[in-house]
């Protein structure tokens, strides 16, 4: 869903000019028109046209606005004034973005960027970069957006324009929010609020709205409520309708989460009216969705269906280019058909003319007959046209309903898929547990067998045997004893795994010392691995910062670390098998940050190929031979970190160089969830 878009478009204006409020727009337009009637130098004339464009945009008079921009463009091209031309391109870009003409917008902005660079005007350059970022954001090309925001922010900072840099940062935070990087997004919103002493109330509250939304996505209702209310009341008091309705839409979602559908409806309808008044499509989208859900819960299916339909209609209008294209093709076909019928009419009329000519020579009856014929013909033709129009309409309705159906099916499909994955996960976990039970048989057999042999050896020692035999028996005894210890340990790890799998309180939250958890699990993983692969050794570098205890699902987190360590050891073993010179090394690093703890685990094993790095968190994805991996390990890790702890987990790797997992776990969130 496209969120925030409306507000971003508003930002275009904020960034480029002093904002005229709508109340004053008409008087400003009048005075600007007055200015134009004077004899002005071209440069001033261009600027006045640009200002007029902005005023018309503020008054929501797009056609007039576009005309002003075209005039400015003509003049700037004619005079070859690069600086003004760059400004015009910048505004053209923002205009085309507003009317959803994204490709043209990007072309305009790139041209503006090129010109600003040519005339060495960094502020313009930064504004172009930022607007390119906004356009990419609009079309959901988030990584491109981040890239351009980053360049814009750097340039603004270099030129000490901290306010603008903050705006970019705000935009950035919203991209992160969209990408679901909730903690990073929250961190950025907070930084903006905390860094700027002179931060405008408007911006501050936009950030509060952002933070509230992050909490909403984290399903932390109380915090979300606090922030969203605060933003809503502020925007209400300043009369900022767009931001107010935006906050209102989020509040409706919150009410739904709090299971207060009636409240969601009441507030939703109020804000919907505002959103429709100011034509903010993004807010409408969110509200349609929330209202449909709310009515559904109230078991008012008629209204639920109505708003669902509204939602799909608008969304299709905005995003479903494919069906739009299809629609256009169909509409064109009908238009052509209609045209064909018109031609038919002409043809028929021509024929009819001939008949009339002949009938002039003929009898009066024939004339009357021809008139009657003409009457019938016309009726038939107009009937045909009417049928055609109706057909067109019918087909449009059909198209819309097919769309609705398709969207519904897609939703059901997604839900089913989710359920299927869940079911398979459970089934597979059962298999894993059964496998573990069998797995435990192996080390136990070793323990029994080595102990049996040792008994025999001890019996031999009691007999009269030679010194050489005695020495040999002692060496064997010692070796066997070590094997018993190793296999005992191996069984221990397996039991621990099983417990984690089956214990009911495996998800209990407790105050957790992450460093301790890491050390324990590394020891387990390493010893178990060494028991299985003798002679394997790896250099371990542990960089540990003292960390606050956090409230977390310790068992689950332990499982994540164990899994990552096992993978790291496995990857290093694979590389060691292929290269005798290779020296395995693992780096484990924990660091404390503002609001979160970061854990980094880097091995120098065989690495993950680029083509598959995006798949590794998917359930059932494994590269290990059958029986060695279920393909669930990392997918479960991912869920534990992102869903259960609202953190994030990332991976980077290079073949035969390294694989690095980075985990971030919020500290504050954990405590608030208490």
């Amino acid at each position: 869903m496209k969120k925030h878009l409306g507000r971003f478009k508003k930002l275009f204006l904020l960034i480029l000019m002093t904002c005229f409020s709508q109340v004053h727009a008409s008087s400003v337009i009048d005075s600007l028109q007055q200015t134009l009637s004077n004899n002005l130098p071209d440069s001033q004339r261009i600027e006045t046209h640009i200002l007029l464009y902005k005023s018309y945009m503020d008054a929501d008079m797009r056609d007039d606005a576009s005309k002003q921009l075209n005039k400015a463009f003509e003049l700037a091209t004619k005079t070859g004034d690069k600086s003004r031309l760059a400004q015009v391109y910048l505004n053209l870009g923002s205009y085309n973005n507003t009317i959803d003409n994204y490709i043209v917008a990007l072309a305009n902005l790139m041209e503006a960027l090129r010109l600003f660079r040519e005339i060495k005007f960094p502020r313009g350059e930064a504004a172009s970069l930022m607007n390119i970022g906004i356009t990419y954001y609009t079309i959901k090309e988030y990584s491109e957006a981040l890239n351009y925001y980053h360049q814009a922010e750097e340039l603004y900072l270099k030129n000490n324009d901290f306010e603008k840099a903050d705006i970019v940062k705000y935009l950035n935070a919203n991209v992160l929010l969209q990408k679901g990087w909730l903690n990073a997004s929250m961190k950025m919103f907070r930084e903006i609020i905390e860094s700027g002493k002179n931060i405008a109330d408007q911006r501050k509250n936009e950030c509060l709205l952002g933070i509230g939304t992050v909490y909403l996505k984290m399903q932390m209702q109380d915090s979300a409520e606090k922030y969203l209310y605060s933003a809503y009341h502020y925007f209400d008091s300043t009369g900022n309708k767009e931001a107010k309705s935006f906050s209102g839409a989020r509040l409706s979602q919150l009410y739904l989460m709090q299971d207060q559908p009636q409240k969601a409806i009441d507030s939703g309808l109020v804000n919907l009216e505002i959103a429709q008044l100011i034509n903010s499509r993004d807010v409408q989208l969110e509200l349609f969705n929330a209202l449909s859900e709310a009515y559904h819960r109230m078991e008012d299916f008629k209204n639920a269906f109505f708003y669902q339909q509204k939602y799909f209609e608008l969304r299709n209008k905005l995003f479903n280019e494919k069906s739009l294209k299809q629609y256009n093709v169909l509409a064109k076909k009908y238009a052509e058909d209609q045209h064909k019928h018109e031609l038919e009419i002409v043809e028929q009329q021509k024929q009819k003319q001939k008949i009339i000519t002949f009938s002039v020579i003929g009898l009066l009856i024939l004339i009357i007959a021809s008139l009657v014929y003409r009457y019938i013909l016309n009726r038939r033709v107009s009937k045909k046209l009417g049928v055609n129009n109706r057909k067109l309409e019918e087909n449009n309705v059909k198209l819309a309903s097919i769309n609705l159906e398709l969207n519904h099916t897609l939703g059901v499909l997604k839900e089913t898929q989710e359920k299927l994955i869940q079911q398979e996960k459970i089934a597979s976990l059962g298999k894993v547990t059964a496998g573990i039970a069998h797995e435990i048989q192996n080390p136990l057999n070793f323990v029994t067998n080595f102990a049996t042999i040792n008994n025999d050896l001890l019996a031999e020692l009691q007999d009269n045997i030679t010194e050489a035999d005695r020495k040999e028996a002692m060496v064997l005894l010692k070796q066997n004893n070590e094997k018993i210890r190793q296999h005992g340990l191996r069984a221990n790890v397996i039991v621990k795994d099983m417990l984690m799998e089956s214990r009911a309180d495996a998800t209990a939250r407790e105050l957790t010392d992450i460093n301790k958890l890491i050390r324990e699990n590394f020891d387990f993983a390493y010893q178990a691995f060494r028991a299985k692969h003798q002679g394997f050794h790896c250099d371990t570098k542990l960089y540990i910062q003292s960390l606050p205890q956090i409230l977390a699902e310790a068992r689950q987190l332990g499982r994540v670390f164990l899994n990552l360590f096992e993978n790291a050891l496995y990857a290093m073993k694979k590389r060691a098998d292929a290269d005798k010179e290779f020296k395995p090394r693992i780096i484990i690093k924990t660091t404390k940050h503002d609001g979160f703890i970061q854990v980094m685990i880097e091995d120098n094993g065989k690495g993950i190929p680029n083509e598959i790095i995006n798949d590794i968190f998917n359930p059932f994805y494994t590269t290990k031979p059958t029986g060695e991996g279920t393909g669930l390990g990392l997918s479960i890790c991912y869920d534990i970190i992102t869903k259960r702890h609202h953190g994030m987990i990332n991976v980077t790797s290079e073949i035969n160089q390294f694989t690095k997992f980075t985990i971030e776990i919020p500290t504050m969130i954990q405590q608030e969830a208490l």
Binding site: N442, N445, F446, N449, F450, I453, K483, H487, G627
Partner: protein, 124 residues
Amino acid sequence: MKKILIVDDERDIESLYRQYFRKAINEQKLSLQFAFSGSEALEMIGNQCDPELIMLTDINMPGMTGLELLQKVKEKCPKAMVYVVSAYDTAAYHTSAKEFGAEEFITKPIDFLMLKEKLVNINL
């Protein structure tokens, strides 16, 4: 003297066999060779089939399984005597092992004393 090739991915198995069969080895009734994967075993068997090849293989191993190894060995050396060992005592394993020409299916945990008797008394 009977030469026996033992295939198992658990390396400690070698130490167990050598100690359990110490006397038989010292008395030169048996000699043991070890491979830790199916492919390693095939390499050791090589192209020239030992007509007196006796092999013991585990089923669950990474890479080639014991049953796959059994098929390949029997294809190459139809006279080889292969014993299949597994902790997974399932009907499917039994049937496949028999179908592919295994002498016997031995269930883990292995009774080493019985196994030693069996091996020493094989009539080639």
